[in-house]
Each structure stands twice: as structure tokens, then as C-alpha cells.
């Protein structure tokens, strides 16, 4: 059995990942299985399960699992019967030596993800709840069923960081999935070999250098790659990790973590992709720096190995991924949104309970109240002799638990900036300046901003909603000007984003800066009249969505067309022919704060 990395399909990769996972589940820690539910995923799961014995412990963790079930807590019925606190094991402790499956992992709350990640790291569940305190050693591995569709919809990076593998089954046909190269017997044999497999320092160095080459800063990656390489060697029946094993491990562990390509390969890639965004250049510079360091470290052999490693990791998909989405680096870091949540006793999504009394709209959580009262029953029954019926549960004020909810109150300001040639270049500079000033303001109010620019044939989301000033400034700096004015697409893009923001329970506001000289219609054709009707239509849709908006006319003279658009949008219209960044930002602030006070009043 010879594994040739460059010829492996994604299904073969997936099959190999499952096999290695079965050989050393604790070393590999986990797999992020990105696939929609369907026969292919079922087939993969079935094959994976087949590697383990019938009695092997598989635990499925539902999305909305409570801390009490996850970590353990008070066993309510047992406590009531026994009359004293009885602890109940949580699912993480129960899964000791087994595998937990996270369904819909992309929607897993960040707190749950952090708890699981912590247990993976420490190898124990630390319980400090409901008057119980204990530590239960547990070693489990994880299969995260990531059903995300969009790129930013994925398993928490906290977890992915700790998993060795990321398996994509999106483009695998069912036909393909019937083929599987490794038997259960081979895995059993490899499991026996594994403890004896050693890895040389050279190979460790290769794994480290390769990780650096791909811009992977976390040191967990090379450690995981080491485990994978050992499992590969065991699969081949070898006692030591060979170079091929290490290279294949690089491919399996690093490909989805890679932020950029090592320099040599980057140059080749450049030839195919002449247009480069500033960010890529930056990362390339970093890369070159690091490469210099590598040369200092071990001039010859390491570098050659590194090139080989790169070729092993390299696949067509990876190249596309790295080149198409330069902003991906940023998106990756955007996983947690915990700070956007506001806890409330009254409305929002339920998130647990706290001690407190119902009233003022706060609602009693009956089950948790019972749980709080349960351990006390024996004492209370002793004390209150009047209570002859001992089967009645005695609940006192201090037991009351009220449900807590979280709500989002974040306002997201979407700047839609006309970057066309007609919107004279000095205007663009002013708009940028204004946006920067507003960013500072939004930052202080802990609001989010997003930036859409339209020019040429289409609109582009330069900055998805963020609070990061640095990111915003960077994408602003990289905003080029020139080209035609596709106003309709600009409004469409803003509306789409606004809808997404609304779905998250946040409040979007659109600020449109344009001179109104639109000349590209929705189809991307240069035709002034259809361009105008399309723009008006798009504007109408904004009003139908009831999104608060402001149109800033940046043309030297008031544009009647802009006024029409504003009317259709239900937007506040502001002509600012001599706008500088200062008064521009003041106008926007006045608009947003008036909206906010109105919202408060209602």
C-alpha cells in the first residue's frame, strides 16, 4: 500500500483521516467533519465506526446541552429519593476513553466549545457546581459535524485548533465514497504497533519548519502532526517515522490551517495570479523574513525538505482557497461574538439560570428551582413538623431560580462608499477620512461597522461587520478608486448585509455615500436609464426591509436623482458638496444618534 499525496482525492484524504483517527484517537484529538448531512457523510461515519469494537463508547452531544449535563451536577430524582445530594456524571466524564460527536458543531455556543476544549487539554473534567466539587479524569476524542455553508460559519476555532484533521466531504460523490482502502485488520495491527513508533529529531524539525512556512503560529499544530506521522508509520508497520510519513502528516494537518504559502511556491502562484491584494504582499514579506530565519537555522537540508513538504500539502483546492480569499485570514479570527451579548432577565434567548426572585418580568425556572430545593428536603421536613405529608417538596424563597436570557443590542453601521471614477478621487479621500472618524466613534460606543465599496461592475464587501479598528483601517487603505458607478449593486449588497445583521438580532444602519451618477445596471451593463431604474428599485427594497438609512450626496451640486433614491429608500438625505471628513462624520453621528433616541422613546 503506497500513499501518494499528490494523487489523493479528497475522499481518499477523508478515508485516511478516519483510519488514522481510529488508530490513535487520543493523539489526534478530533476531526472537524465539514459536510452536509447525507449519504456520503453517513458512509464516512459508518466506516469510521466500523473500526471500533461494538462496545466502544460513542456519545452524541446535542447543540443545546446544559452545563449540568456536560460537566455533571446534581441528580435531581436521586437526590430527592436519597434525601442528600447525589452527583451525576456529565457527558464528558462518561465519554472517557470514547468519542463524542458534536452535531451541528458550527452552531455550538462558544462557552460549550471552550469547556470541551479545556477538557481535551487537561484530560479531566473539573466540576465546581451545585455544591459539588470534583475532578474526573477523562480522555476522549471528538468528531465535530460541521454543517456550515458559508465560510464564516464553522466549528469554533477553539476546537478546530485542537483537532488534527479537517475533513471536507462537500464535493465527494456517493459513487466515489464506496471505495475504502484500509481494512479493520490493518487498523488493529497499527494500533498494536503504535506505542513502539518513535520519531527522530530531524522529523520533528521538519514538522516545525513546515508549520512556520505555512504561517501556522500555534504550536499545537506541529505536535498534532507528530502524532499523525506516528500513526502513519504504525499503519505502514514501521518502527520509526519516515520522511514520507512526516510529509503526509504535514498535508493532513497543515493544509486547512495554512495562511499562506512558503516563498518558493508563492512565486509560481504569482505568475498565475497577477493581481494581488495588499494583504497578500504583507504576508509574503513576513514569509520571506521567516524564510531567512530558516536559512540561518539549517541552511540546506531543511529547506529542501520544506519544499517537499509544501508540495505534499499543496493541492488545487488549497491554492484556490489561499488566492481567492485574502481576507480569509481575518475572518478566521472572528469566531467568538460573546461580547455582543447582553444578559437580561426579561427577553432574549434563554441562557441558563441564576438565583433570584421572579417578578419584574423575570420568569421562574421550575426545574432549576426544584433542583436547588431537592437536597434540603430532609432537613426541612424535620424542621417543619407541621408538614405531615413528607412527599411534598418544600420550596423556600432562597431556592428560586430565574431564567436568564441574552439579547443583542449591537448597532452595525454599514458604510456603502461610491468608489467610482465619477465620484472624484478627492471625494473618496474625504469619505475615507469620515469613515475613519466614525469608526473611532463606533468603537467607543462598542458598535460594529461594515464597509461596502462599489465601482466598475459590482459592489464588494470590503469589511464584514467588525469592531476591529485595525481591520477596518486596513481595508479602507486598500480601497482603490476609479471605474463606473454600479449604484444598484451597491444598494443590493448593503441590503443583503443588513438582512444578515438583522437575522442575528442586531440593528443595521446603512450610510450611503455617492454622487448618484449611476451608469451600470444590475446586470452589469453600461446603460444609464436602466441603471437608474434599478437603483431606485433597490432603494425601494431597502425601505421595505425597514432599515434605517442615510444618503450623503457627495456631488458638487445637489443631485435630483439622489434625492429620488433617498426618498425611495426612506433615507435621510444630506447634500454635502463641500464636505470634509469632519462635518461628514458629524452628520452621520447626528443621524444615528437620533435614530437611537427614537428607538429608545418607542
Amino acid at each position: 500500500m503506497k500513499l501518494n499525496p499528490s494523487e489523493m482525492t479528497s475522499w481518499e484524504d477523508a478515508a485516511l483521516a478516519a483510519t488514522l483517527f481510529a488508530i490513535d484517537p487520543t493523539g489526534i484529538k478530533g476531526i472537524n467533519l465539514r459536510a452536509q448531512p447525507g449519504p456520503v457523510r453517513d458512509e464516512w461515519m459508518r466506516r469510521c465506526r466500523d473500526y471500533f469494537s461494538k462496545s466502544f463508547c460513542w456519545k452524541r452531544v446535542p447543540l443545546n446541552i446544559s452545563d449540568c449535563r456536560l460537566l455533571g451536577g446534581l441528580d435531581l430524582p436521586a437526590t430527592l429519593t436519597a434525601g442528600k445530594p447525589v452527583a451525576e456524571k456529565g457527558i464528558l466524564a462518561e465519554a472517557d476513553g470514547g468519542i463524542i460527536i458534536l452535531s451541528m458543531a458550527e452552531r455550538l455556543p462558544i462557552g460549550t466549545a471552550a469547556t470541551i476544549a479545556n477538557c481535551l487539554d487537561c484530560g479531566e473534567v473539573v466540576l465546581e457546581r451545585d455544591g459539588l466539587a470534583n475532578k474526573t479524569p477523562t480522555q476522549f476524542s471528538v468528531i465535530a459535524l460541521d454543517e456550515g455553508i458559508h465560510e464564516d460559519e464553522s466549528t469554533s476555532s477553539k476546537l478546530q485548533e485542537r483537532f488534527a484533521f479537517h475533513v471536507e466531504l462537500e464535493n465527494v460523490s456517493y459513487q466515489e465514497s464506496t471505495h475504502w482502502s484500509f481494512s479493520k485488520h490493518a487498523v488493529n495491527k497499527a494500533r498494536k504497533c503504535l506505542p513502539a513508533v518513535s520519531i527522530t529529531n530531524d522529523m520533528l524539525e521538519l514538522l516545525c519548519a513546515a508549520a512556520m512556512g505555512f504561517g501556522i503560529t500555534s504550536l499545537r499544530a506541529p505536535l498534532l502532526a507528530r502524532n499523525v506521522a506516528r500513526a502513519l508509520a504504525a499503519l505502514e508497520g514501521n518502527q520509526t517515522v519516515s520522511k514520507d510519513n512526516a510529509l503526509l502528516a504535514c498535508r493532513l494537518v497543515y493544509a486547512h490551517r495554512a495562511l499562506y504559502l512558503p516563498a518558493e511556491i508563492e512565486e509560481e502562484a504569482e505568475a498565475q495570479q497577477p493581481e494581488q491584494t495588499p494583504e497578500q504582499n504583507e504576508s509574503e514579506q513576513d514569509q520571506q523574513q521567516q524564510n531567512n530565519e530558516q536559512q540561518q537555522f539549517d541552511p540546506q537540508s531543511l529547506e529542501e525538505l520544506l519544499i517537499e513538504a509544501t508540495q505534499a500539502v499543496l493541492s488545487k483546492q488549497l491554492l484556490e482557497k489561499l488566492q481567492s480569499t485574502a481576507s480569509k485570514n481575518n475572518q478566521k479570527s472572528q469566531s467568538g461574538r460573546s461580547s455582543n451579548l447582553k444578559y437580561s432577565d426579561v427577553r432574549g434567548r434563554p441562557v441558563g439560570v441564576r438565583k433570584g426572585e421572579p417578578g419584574n418580568g423575570a420568569r421562574l425556572n421550575v426545574l432549576e428551582t426544584l433542583r436547588a430545593a431537592a437536597p434540603w428536603q430532609r432537613i426541612r421536613n424535620n424542621v417543619s413538623t407541621t408538614n405531615s405529608d413528607s412527599r411534598r417538596i418544600d420550596i423556600q424563597r432562597e431556592d428560586f431560580r430565574i431564567a436568564r436570557f441574552k439579547q443583542r443590542t449591537v448597532t452595525t453601521t454599514i458604510f456603502v462608499v461610491d468608489a467610482s471614477g465619477s465620484s472624484a478621487l478627492n471625494r473618496l479621500a474625504e469619505a475615507k477620512g469620515a469613515v475613519e472618524l466614525l469608526l473611532a466613534e463606533c468603537y467607543q460606543r462598542r458598535d460594529q461597522v461594515a464597509l461596502i465599496a462599489f465601482r466598475g461592475k459590482q459592489a464588494e464587501v470590503l469589511l464584514p461587520p467588525t469592531r476591529s479598528l485595525v481591520r477596518a483601517k486596513r481595508s479602507l487603505a486598500g480601497l482603490p478608486g476609479g471605474g463606473a458607478t454600479p449604484l444598484a449593486s451597491g444598494i443590493d449588497a448593503a441590503l443583503l448585509l443588513a438582512q444578515q445583521i438583522k437575522q442575528q438580532g442586531e440593528t443595521p444602519t446603512i450610510i450611503l455615500l455617492t454622487d448618484g451618477r449611476t451608469n451600470i445596471n444590475r446586470e452589469g451593463e453600461a446603460d444609464r436609464s436602466t441603471a437608474e431604474t434599478d437603483a431606485l428599485l433597490a432603494a425601494k427594497e431597502v425601505r421595505m426591509e425597514n432599515v434605517s438609512s442615510l444618503l450623503i450626496d457627495t456631488s458638487p451640486r445637489k443631485q435630483p436623482f439622489n434625492q429620488q433614491v433617498a426618498e425611495q429608500m426612506g433615507a435621510q438625505y444630506l447634500a454635502m458638496p463641500h464636505a470634509n471628513s469632519q462635518n461628514l462624520s458629524e452628520a452621520v453621528l447626528a443621524h444615528t444618534s437620533s435614530k437611537q433616541s427614537m428607538a429608545l422613546a418607542s
Binding site: P85, V126, E128, A133, N201, L207, F297, Y343, R354
Partner: protein
């Protein structure tokens, strides 16, 4: 029902601690790089009044490893035997009620224990943090017993909160209150207990996952930003050592025992020397000027800077604090107190360094 506090030997904490010692943590001295983090933690251990260390950093930088390795590193401390709160027999002013009673009768017996490094796990409930009525005892004996919580266990040691930005708000409030007053007041379930709880609050988090409230930020004495080493040979070292540790933790710890011991002696000496370190007026003026230039709010920054510099001086064996000590501790004592300038890209560290350069370069 009589009210009393349960003897330490029976507590759940001790049982938990026993299990904890069974696991051998990665040795502190074997940690590659992270000089700033190590320095901050050591300074906080030398002078516990520094008030907490906040650690920001990327994933996989070994934040948790470093903190969990502290327990094995730090010199043992004297505690009163049978005291559930680790009372210091040498400091009668800070004794808990129980020890005060005992002290009045007979001299307190003391024993040596390792400095507690207590993990506050995610999902911990309030009753376990502050302590609560011991139910089992109440049920079986009919006596009201206070079961001390994590805060009691952390007294005179470290309280570590991983992912501090994911902690529930009401727990954060509670911790802030106790950290500020140095005392845990429990009024619940018919209990009324107060006990000393002075600990070094160590929080780690990833700023990308939500920022900390300013009140919480200010409560930390020192802040450190950790990064993974970018030097390949250092990274290889990390992986090799980790590999060796995972293969045989006991042997690996043995290998680093001597280095740990040397560091421990140094810390112990510094702790003893701390009160003798002289802070010249001139240095104080320089520190204040630096704080004023940077515009840090309040006096907390200045006080922390002075204390941190003094701890460092003690650690380095100097008789008095010099400007150099102040410079070294400036970034971590003041960095998180700077007023945000949203349009200044420079990290707070760079801004502090810049100010130092401007002020003291001549």
C-alpha cells in the same frame, strides 16, 4: 444547630488537591521563551499585593501550561494547621476568625504547603466559588457547616481563570468585589461567614473573542501579551520538550528539577528581601513622570509600577530600585491602563516604549 467551620482534613478541596498532585505538570523552567510572562508571574509571586496578571495571546502559546506550572515552582508557604483558609501564622492581622480564637489560646501550629494555584473552571456556579453550606454534614449531623469555596482555597495563592472573557457577568462582579476588598463575605442559606481571600487573579483570554470590561482591566496589576516564538529553533525546542514531557512526565520533571529549585531559591530570597529594597525618591519621580506622560488614569498605575519595579529589583538582588527596573516593568504595569486611542495603530507596548524613549533617552 451550631455554626462551625469544617476541619480542613475532611474537605472536598483536599481530596481534589490530592488527585491534582497525581498529575505532573510541565515544569516552569522548561518553558521556552515567554520571558515577559514568566517575569510578570514571578514578580506577582514575590509581591502578591501587585494585584493580578492578565494574559492576552494567540492560541497555542502555552498560557495555561505556564500558569499551571507555577504551583510546583513557588516556594512552600507556612500555614496554620487545620485552617481551611491557609492563614499565615506570622501575620496576626490577617487571620480568619477561627485562627484568631485559636491564636488567643495557644500559639498557632504551622505547616508547610505548596502555594495554591486554583483553576476557576468555566461553568462553575456561584456557590462553589464563594463557598456554601455543607449539605451532607447538615443532613447527617444537623449542624451548620460552611464548606469553603474556590476563593478560600486560593487565599495567598493564585486564582486562574482561563478564557476570562467568557466568564459569566455575575461571577466577574463577585470576583472583582473580593479581589478589591481581600475578604470574602458569605451571606447565604442562613450562614454568615467572612474570611480573608487575598489572591493573585490570573486571567487569560483572546482579545479577538470579546474585550474585557474596563473595570476588570484596571483590577489587574500587570498585563502581558504573549506570542508564539517566531524563531524556528525555539519552536523546535518547544515541540521537542513537549514531546519528551508527554512520553514520560516524571522523568522530564526530574530532569528540570534542579533548574526549578534554583529559581525557587531565587524567588524565596527575593520574597525575604522585598521589604528591604529601597525606593529612591528620584526613581519615584521618574515613574510618576512616565505615568503622567502616558496619561494613565488614577494612581493605581503608578503604585503598581513602583511595586513591580521593587519586586524585580528584589528578584535581581539589587539594594534599591533603579530607572532600569522601572523601564523593564513599565509596559506590563501600564500597558492596559492607557486610554485607547482608536486611530493609533501602535500597540500599547509600543506607546509605552516610545514614551520611555522620549523621556529618558538623553
Amino acid at each position: 444547630m451550631t455554626s462551625s467551620i469544617r476541619k480542613k482534613s475532611k474537605t472536598k478541596e483536599t481530596q481534589a488537591r490530592k488527585k491534582q498532585t497525581a498529575r505532573i505538570e510541565y515544569p516552569f523552567s522548561a518553558i521556552v521563551g515567554q520571558a515577559e510572562l514568566k517575569q510578570a508571574l514571578i514578580c506577582a509571586a514575590i509581591d502578591q499585593t501587585l494585584g493580578g496578571v492578565l494574559i492576552f495571546g494567540d492560541r497555542g502559546t502555552g498560557k495555561s501550561t505556564t500558569i499551571r506550572s507555577l504551583a510546583a515552582l513557588l516556594p512552600k508557604m507556612d500555614v496554620a494547621t487545620d485552617c481551611p483558609y491557609n492563614c499565615d501564622p506570622q501575620r496576626p492581622a490577617h487571620l480568619c476568625e477561627r485562627c484568631l480564637d485559636d491564636d488567643a489560646e495557644t500559639k498557632l501550629k504551622k505547616k508547610q504547603v505548596t502555594v495554591p494555584v486554583v483553576d476557576l473552571p468555566l461553568g462553575a456556579t456561584e456557590d462553589r466559588v464563594v463557598g456554601a453550606l455543607d449539605l451532607e454534614h447538615a443532613l447527617s449531623k444537623g449542624e451548620k457547616l460552611f464548606e469553603p469555596g474556590l476563593l478560600a482555597r486560593a487565599h495567598r495563592g493564585f486564582l486562574y481563570i482561563d478564557e476570562v472573557n467568557l466568564l459569566e457577568d455575575h461571577l466577574v462582579d463577585l470576583l472583582l468585589d473580593v479581589a478589591a476588598s481581600g475578604e470574602n463575605v458569605v451571606e447565604r442559606e442562613g450562614l454568615s461567614v467572612r474570611h480573608p481571600a487575598r489572591f493573585v487573579l490570573v486571567g487569560s483570554g483572546n482579545p479577538e473573542e470579546g474585550e474585557l470590561r474596563p473595570q476588570l482591566l484596571d483590577r489587574y496589576g500587570l498585563s502581558v501579551e504573549v506570542k508564539t516564538p517566531t524563531d524556528v529553533s525555539q519552536r523546535i525546542d518547544v515541540v521537542k520538550r513537549r514531546d519528551a514531557y508527554e512520553q514520560d512526565p516524571a522523568a522530564f520533571a526530574e530532569q528540570w528539577k534542579n533548574k526549578n529549585a534554583r529559581l525557587r531559591t531565587k524567588i524565596k530570597q527575593a520574597q525575604a528581601r522585598l521589604s528591604d529594597v529601597n525606593v529612591p525618591d528620584e526613581t519615584l519621580v521618574q515613574a510618576s513622570t512616565l505615568c503622567m506622560t502616558l496619561g494613565t488614569d488614577g494612581l493605581r498605575g503608578e503604585l503598581t509600577l513602583m511595586r513591580a519595579a521593587r519586586a524585580l529589583a528584589a528578584y535581581e538582588g539589587s539594594q534599591s530600585v533603579t530607572l532600569d527596573h522601572v523601564k523593564q516593568m513599565a509596559a506590563c504595569s501600564l500597558g492596559h491602563r492607557l486610554r485607547r486611542n482608536p486611530l493609533d495603530d501602535a500597540s500599547s507596548r509600543v506607546r509605552v516604549d516610545r514614551a520611555i524613549e522620549d523621556l529618558f533617552s538623553e
